[in-house]
Assembly symmetry: D2
Homo-oligomer: 375 residues x 4
């Protein structure tokens, strides 16, 4: 009755739960995918690991992630731990011949990403990074519209990703503020998502010039009243870019934009039309085309529908709405099928992920050199 694949999950936080939910739903939603068998879940805290294993439907709880790597029944490993741990875990899993599904960004440094990409290329298995926003059926629709020439040749890509999780100056200093623990700030957390959309829809970024800044330069130390710690990574960044296609672009991000919760938004200008998207209204895509009666032209708001696969597998009725977690289910289905041999046109493997991270590191270099840099 269909193939199976043994899976292990390392990390049980925000994205760990998201992976777990995807493992629990993907077969029911998609039907024709290998069935994931949830074998082992790892959390350093033994009690928590046991509790989560029960809740998430994993057969066994472990506290040493190497147990998962060592298990021959596990073919696919999810890595949802803090960024600083990704590289070691991913490379160990690859070395053991496991497929790897790892959250973004790849690591703390560009060297991490390069090493992981190299490991991925030589491993002979699938690697996949957690660029879930790409999996929105409306992004696939946007891609289809672009490829079919509906908006003509792309001339400009303007993207923004704003949140406000670090907007409040009173949020205390933490490991998040340290380069050695967290790596980059808003660039690694959120700009990478925007770059993934730009790469998918407008092609590769070739060069750029950027400015970067830390808006709240110090934050209160949690345990020492009246004292503050220095924030080492950036709250916001902006870049002018040039795509390989010749199109111009603008990419901006902030983790200190009050009122924005997940405004991952873009606007694509073409010679015959325009596309607009905003993740905060993730079930809507705006399209303008220079066609038809001028008196009735306008941006049209397209609601997600069965006409935008695989929406219909979640709900046969249009406009009923997907949610954030549904995107992860789509991402997982694509990975399972890729493992099974079906190509995934939206895949972001470690090589494609490295290309994304080169862009954010180029932004850092440009901000330092105050010059255009090639990616």
């Amino acid at each position: 009755m269909g193939s199976e694949i043994g899976v292990g999950l390392i990390g049980t936080g925000f994205m760990g739960k998201c992976h777990a939910l995807a493992y629990g739903s993907v077969k029911a939603v998609f039907g024709s995918v290998p069935t994931p068998r949830r074998l082992k879940l790892c959390d350093a805290d033994a009690d928590l690991a046991r509790q989560r294993a029960e809740e998430y439907g994993f057969a066994e709880a472990v506290t040493d992630w190497r147990t998962i790597i060592a298990d021959p029944a596990i073919q696919l490993v999810s890595i949802t731990t803090p960024n600083a741990l990704h590289r070691e875990m991913a490379e160990a899993a690859l070395a053991a011949g496991k497929h790897v599904w790892c959250e973004k960004p790849m690591g703390l440094t560009l060297a991490d990403a390069e090493s992981m990409a190299a490991a991925g290329r030589s491993a002979g298995v699938r690697t996949q990074l957690g660029y879930n926003y790409l999996r929105n059926p409306l992004i696939a629709e946007a891609k289809r519209l672009i490829e079919s020439g509906e908006i003509g040749r792309i001339t400009h890509f303007r993207g923004v990703v704003d949140e406000d999780y670090m907007a409040d100056a009173e949020i205390p200093w933490s490991w998040r503020c340290q380069l050695a623990e967290a790596g980059l700030g808003a660039l690694g957390d959120i700009m990478v998502h925007l770059v993934s959309l730009a790469h998918t829809l407008a092609g590769r970024v070739e060069k750029l010039t950027a400015q970067i800044e830390t808006i709240h330069k110090t934050r209160p130390l949690p345990d020492r009243p009246g004292e503050t710690g220095r924030v080492e990574n950036e709250d916001a960044a902006q870049a002018l870019v040039r795509f390989a296609s010749g199109a111009s672009g603008l990419l901006t991000c902030s983790r200190a934009a009050w009122g924005r919760k997940n405004r991952l938004a873009f606007e694509i200008h073409g010679t015959r039309g325009t596309l607009i998207f905003d993740q905060e209204r993730m079930n809507e895509l705006q399209l303008f085309t220079a066609s038809g009666d001028p008196a009735t032209r306008g941006f049209r708001t397209i609601l997600t529908a069965p006409a935008h696969p695989p929406y219909g597998l979640f709900c046969p009725a249009p406009g009923h709405g997907l949610g954030f977690n549904d995107l992860k289910v789509i991402e997982l289905a694509a990975l399972l099928r890729a493992i099974d041999g079906t190509p995934d046109p939206l895949a972001v493997d470690f090589t494609a992920g490295l290309a994304i991270e080169r862009v954010i590191h180029a932004m850092v270099m440009s901000a330092q050199s105050k010059a255009w840099v090639a990616v």
Copy 2:
């Protein structure tokens, strides 16, 4: 390790899949709920039943729903079959001492609903109807705002539910168009959702006057080219209502409103403010309060966030978006907890469901008598 509850699912269509997804996710999302054990799934088609059982994670596939009723290990039965079958199945399940989770509307006629409500009251188990839109965390927030007096006393409730699944005159005639097979049309399909919101947020509807109509009075017969069949149930309805509280209201629905996909929307006027919601943008709630500097008053768009439980159990980051299927998970969690003894303030059991259906049947009566009728 937490309690367990054996479940059976009858019906594997649109809502059957939705129930199945909820069973597969609820423990991972909520943690502290009884764990559903997916024991038996029923579909009249044996092959389909087997396939769905595998996909949905049910241990066994059956083709006779009475097998589920007869299974002593099953304590909770999901009924997601066509409306005409609800009553018999629900009453049999209740008679067997099962908790029942049944999709709306209850049956084809008011008599069906009355019978089911009576059966539910005497059964000593939980009954729950699928009013999933009530489970949006923003509806709970709206209720909280109303109860805390944030918008003052409610003076007016204006609601609409529009879709376009029967807007096209060329959609062929089917069982959907027959009273004996489908029961009411837009009133039973969608108006009941609006009434459920009105009852939850503005209290009971006491009397009303309505008009009802079939916009496309005949439809092409699928197998007989050039011939048409008569549509026996309504495409659209509108009603003026009076709530028990004294507030006025307006309820309108259409299944022939081109461009609307799930516009289940309301606007609540109070003596100190206004609340607005639209299911097509289900992650947003609009609030206006008559407070603060007049120069900066305005409707504010509230994005779903962890401040609106149980959103945070799906995603710890605000504004990332829930989807249609997530609401069913919330509904199921509330039912599981209610079975476990925790009261569910938003529950729509068969008695509350009957109250909703009395409203739509009063609309039919008023449209015939062209007079105000008491509900």
Copy 3:
């Protein structure tokens, strides 16, 4: 050099200023209209009259409105006084052979409106009521789209007009609250605008059933602390209607809808599409048509543009925005041209105005009789 027409203005309040602005701009905007010569302006307060005459560019200030009626050089009289004065002034002007441009509603009672309509029909001059929202170029566009069959046959007209000028319970009692001084409340102030749109776009209302209410039944008396006065007219009303065409409709209004400032909005359902408009975003019209690729259907937002005459006379660039006062200029241009012999397809003369007022008075009757009434 083009023809001229002598004009007199009675009343210098809200709408008096609006008329004055229109007189000052219409020739510059439209070019090919008779030039209005601002001869006499009347205000009962002599100082104010003098000041306003200077500001508004009128040659002479008078305090007795009959002076305007008596002036043979004046051919067109603007009446912008309180409603209770409209009838006497309008009938006197008509008797003197003047064209009359009068603000709505026509008077306090249906008898007033009937008398004025009769006087208008026998006078051999032009009468025009101030239904300025009809003059939005996007309303003309909506009419064009309907007439060209773009949305098919109209099946439903749903309209709302909400403001909050009486939402605050602390607004003191005034003449506005008295039937003998103000006539109807929200019905006369704002519902008439909605009916004018319904009549223009969906045709005549044939019958209706309504409910009406006074939300704040008493208000503080301004000069007597602690005492209250009774509010005699309605804050809100709702009606189910049936148009002569057979289409159904829903009309609702409130002057106590917190946060709404000029939400004069409608949604028109047709067998092939839908039109949506909201005066608070008066430069946008929403159109959905059931045509083209289902994957890219959606409501499109049309911005006012030169493609929607006479927008281009105000601004040659699209989407730059008209304002409330511009609509009055368009209304005046149509009147001046009608006086000059060019038919005005959107004209609301006293006869058409009476038809509008019959609808609101039918709402009052229906609310009393609790039955459907013919208009």
Copy 4:
């Protein structure tokens, strides 16, 4: 009865009409301003000049603009001719001791602007440039909110100005495409408006790096079928900027953005909140403040109202909407009052205008040098 000021108008195109409308309305709207006496209007075409003089209410039509400069009764000269003529006319008017109200941009080159600014500084009269979007009452409100600390310290200003008047590749080549005739393209036409908003709300731009491009590099020659002419100026530009305050910024413009008609929009991030504005919805301002119950925070949509002076002079009722031409009336009132001695906090005189133009010329320089440049 109040002072008077003699005015002359040079140019009768798009902005000439806009000035004319402002002269015709300003006294009626504002009351307490000097009354403009429309003395002479100039157009090179004698017939057109006569026709426009009649329509616009000017006493006399002339074909030589020097006649206006030479008229001692004229104290204020409006210059609305093509950009290439601004400098000569403005400097002649200043030399003759006239106040000058000139459309933007100041001239074709930075040298033009510098010369005009120098002339303005030494002339002892008022100069004013047509930055009408600044005059929106909601921009004044935004400024008030910023100055009162409502959004804290500004950390980021993100602005866009997009139109589509050159989006179609088939629009023929014209003088507009030539540096010697039109000067800059989108930078001079529209980016200057965005810079004026940035300067007003976020302070002076200190340095920037930019990229500029011509999207349609050639256009069809109107008279020579099959041949094309080279477009010499830019269709689009983007810049990263740094304000003198230390805040970062992003400014982008396009005249080839399909579907955008007047999207002059900004988003201002502060340490306590965010402000958002879009000229296409010019009667709305969005405000988010980090205050109050987290469960009900959100962007609020503020509709223009009498609480935002001078809106109430146009209309005493909130939310009824101003239009594009109304902004010019406000601009003129401020100029007339400034001439009369009342300081105008939003004034853009030739010196302030030069500062704006330095920014766009710095963008050109940066795009050439591919480096950050100081303004």
